[in-house]
Symmetry: C2
Subunit: 501 residues, 2 copies
């Protein structure tokens, strides 16, 4: 294949992944590309892991969001990660976090960049960034995610570039890198008023003098197939679509809705599918990630424009994207994550935020991250950015997990990521709870009756009734010595059931 390293100076820095990995010092803080399994470096992390196997050391790993087995998995497996942020979803990395071997800092994805700029996480030693190509003038053509790449390139002392020949060169021009950010007191308004608006540049700037290595790769982004929506997901999607219809009738939503933000996973994908088969036209998306469902909607015209920071496509989705890239080129914009998730923009556009959750409590607090209060699943990701600032914030989950042994609706969540102040709607396959304008006690009845699985409803009502009768505060009635007992019961017996009725 024709070389994609068109800058003469950088062409002199081409080396093997092992040589490049050798330039990263033990203990270094490394900003890597990668967001929801796309655009992450494919070779240097593996070479680094090999080095660590031979002689153990650790580094601190910052990314956009989740990466893939080739990055988080390999480095975690050799115990090579000291501190990890801001998001991960890798099984091995997760296990190391929950074993106490990795210090994990779970952040709002919009805020990571400003913290690095402000020096809140210390100095960034190296950036390892995947790109599609390097132009003759040294500008970088980004690959399938932007994430924090702009910040890593700007803030790191040294830069290692991975040029991936599998990334479609026709993506050139789909990216929008905004160079107007600054630290306070120099910050200016971000003049973005529509999801499809461009406010930046097509390429990533790069100080060529900082580039210590260029590595060529040729491997596809990790991509997992979507399952067809199951019954629960379809029912959740149906409840949400009915809710949108009622909101439009009541004049609280325009017919074209408001820009959709959609989390990753099977339920969000089912919602997209339902929207696509509904009466909707000319919707837009202002979200983190382009998944398969969005391609379908863009093709059908349900969706006019989608703004995100990354792709997260199945193998079939990647094939579809590459086959019809001319169609998608003009309808998709990839931005850095501090813009795709920016509170200012999310609030201005009034996104409809739809995200998954681990559990919610009867008062509308949402746990997005912790299994039984102690074990990290993935991280808060962008859910807080969008839930706090969106026009509507919707949290979704099946009403039970683990073959019905776990209720997703509990007396008190075992960890809070999105507070009662930020959660407007909760949906399970059982139904939808519209919490707007309700006090905590009103929310409790609505959530139990609409969202809890029938097998747990009576026990929840019983808890609530006894909490109300306890003589403690009636604003948010709780029995403190029982509030977390459902989780404790699950830990000791493998089921939240069989408690007192």
């Amino acid at each position: 294949a024709k070389s994609r390293i068109n800058n003469p100076l950088l062409a002199t820095r081409i080396m093997s992944a092992a040589q490049a990995a050798a330039l990263i010092k033990p203990g270094a803080t490394v900003g890597m590309s990668g967001f929801t399994g796309s655009g992450y470096p494919k070779a240097v992390p593996a070479a680094l892991a090999e080095r660590m196997k031979a002689s153990p050391f650790k580094i601190n790993v910052l990314t956009g969001a989740s990466t893939a087995p080739e990055l988080d998995g390999l480095l975690a497996a050799v115990d090579g990660i000291a501190t990890r942020l801001p998001f991960q979803s890798d099984p091995i990395c997760r296990q190391r976090i929950n074993d106490g071997h990795i210090d994990y800092i779970d952040c709002h994805l919009s805020e990571v960049s400003q913290y690095v700029w402000s020096g809140f996480f210390g100095k960034l030693n190296v950036a390892v960034i995947e790109v599609s190509a390097i132009r003759e003038d040294g500008l970088l053509i980004p690959s399938s995610s932007i994430g924090n790449n702009k910040t890593w390139l700007e803030q790191a002392e040294h830069i290692i570039l991975e040029v991936n020949y599998q990334q479609n060169l026709r993506m050139e021009g789909m990216h929008d890198i905004y160079y107007g950010t600054a630290l306070p007191p120099q910050r200016k308004p971000i003049m973005l008023t529509e999801a499809g608006q461009r406010i930046g540049e097509q390429y990533l700037r790069c100080d060529l003098n900082k580039v210590i290595a260029v590595v060529e790769t040729d491997s596809a982004d990790r991509n997992t197939a979507f399952k067809a929506p199951d019954d629960d997901s379809r029912r959740i999607a149906e409840h949400i679509l009915n809710f949108f219809e009622r909101e439009i009738e009541a004049g609280r939503l325009p017919k074209t809705l408001l820009p959709i933000q959609s989390g990753v996973g099977n339920i969000p994908n089912a919602v997209l599918e339902a929207l696509d088969s509904g009466p909707y036209k000319n919707l837009s998306a202002y979200t983190e990630v382009i998944q398969d469902g969005m391609l379908t909607m863009l093709k059908s015209g349900t969706l006019t424009m989608a703004s995100a920071t990354a792709f997260s496509l199945s193998p079939a989705g990647i094939a579809e994207f590459n086959a019809n890239i001319e169609l998608y080129r003009d309808k998709i914009i990839l931005r850095q994550q501090d813009i795709s998730n920016h509170p200012e923009v999310a609030r201005r556009l009034g996104v409809i935020a739809t995200n998954g959750m681990i559990e919610a409590d009867i008062y509308g607090n949402v746990n997005s991250t912790h299994i039984m209060g102690t074990r990290m699943m993935n991280g808060i990701g962008g859910s807080g950015d969008f839930a706090r600032n969106g026009y509507l914030s919707i949290f979704m989950s099946p009403s039970t997990a683990k073959q019905g042994h776990i209720s997703a609706i509990v007396p008190m969540v075992s960890h809070v990521d999105n507070t009662e102040h930020d959660v407007k709607v909760i949906v399970t396959e059982q139904g939808l709870a519209d919490l707007r304008g309700l006090s905590p006690r009103q929310r409790a009845l609505t959530i139990i009756d609409n969202c809890a699985h029938p097998d747990f409803r009576e026990a929840l009502h019983d808890y609530f009734a006894r909490a109300c009768a306890s003589g403690r505060g009636m604003h948010t009635p709780h029995l403190l010595n029982e509030a977390l007992s459902w989780h404790e019961r699950y830990e000791s017996s493998g089921s939240m059931r069989s408690g007192r009725k």
Copy 2:
């Protein structure tokens, strides 16, 4: 006194408070002025309470934030409030909430206005707004707070104005009412880039046809004297000032800091006092409330400009303000609360948010609202707006309450208002915990050692050690059946002490 009702049409609507109150229907949703004890209607609520005494009924009460005994107190005392939002701090109102007689909806103060515009709380029937005067052209000169007045005037079917002759007419021109807000998808950037910048108009617009009554009053805003800072507050202030100094040295804060947001109360006032006696010059404030300390700082030149939505002055502070109003006029701007607390602006300016808290847990989650998990104290107020979006978010409390029987640092907070993702610094008189860049377990050690009272430190370390050894997740180690036991112990024995060591 010369009449302050200079509009001929509105002059014909003058009536007594009793007559005006008679125009409010039972069950009505009423938007009243008032923010931290200033600018609330002084006569109509009392007349309404009299009517309720004679023949009981309830209304829904929306305000800017807290009001005063003459509003919340009187209405709560006659059980006249069905639903209350977004904030209160009145002892009788609080008791009614915690008795279960009032449905209280505790909201981010920046968000109330958009929810009313969006119809999330239903229809607003009546606005009852205190003003300083009515101009001949019908424009309203606001009084000592703006809060949600703009939204109430725009959204209510009917308007009742209270013209208060005690409000200083020289406040004219200090207000900045921004008429550029809209609902999505029509929202535009808010072009505010400095705390002291004006982006709006001096007067509140008012559809004269909606005005059903004008009531004249002559009573001062409720005003409570500040206590001189006690030792704990002074020590907390000292820790914060030392922290600022280190941040400036490290290049993470400019010498003029960043715009200060300061909660209400004795600790925030002590911080202001400490700032004023420190080396600082030309600071600015972008905050909710102007309290006494800010006047002192404006006079001394420590502070150049202060932007807020309300005054909250002691009697001495009011006297000082009135005596030197020509000095303060140009240095203080009062805005509506959806601008004073706007996430977009708070983030852009990079405010330093300093707020009180009820308690924090060892992992950095903050409870701002609930006593022992069930009883509402005041509400989240603006703390979430500023903590989420500020450059730094600092939460402060003495390390103990109730003569040392309560530890403000607990294994798990009994309610979460500001999550681990949003809390950067915790301070007690014992010391300061800088949580930036720390994982949950690292935070635990830092918070226990720096902030907990020595009497509780050993028990906290013991909890943490046993949680780490429990075999559960090591990301956020907890013993679920013990996590809230300190609170339970306080409820049953009156002390968090005497637990197992």
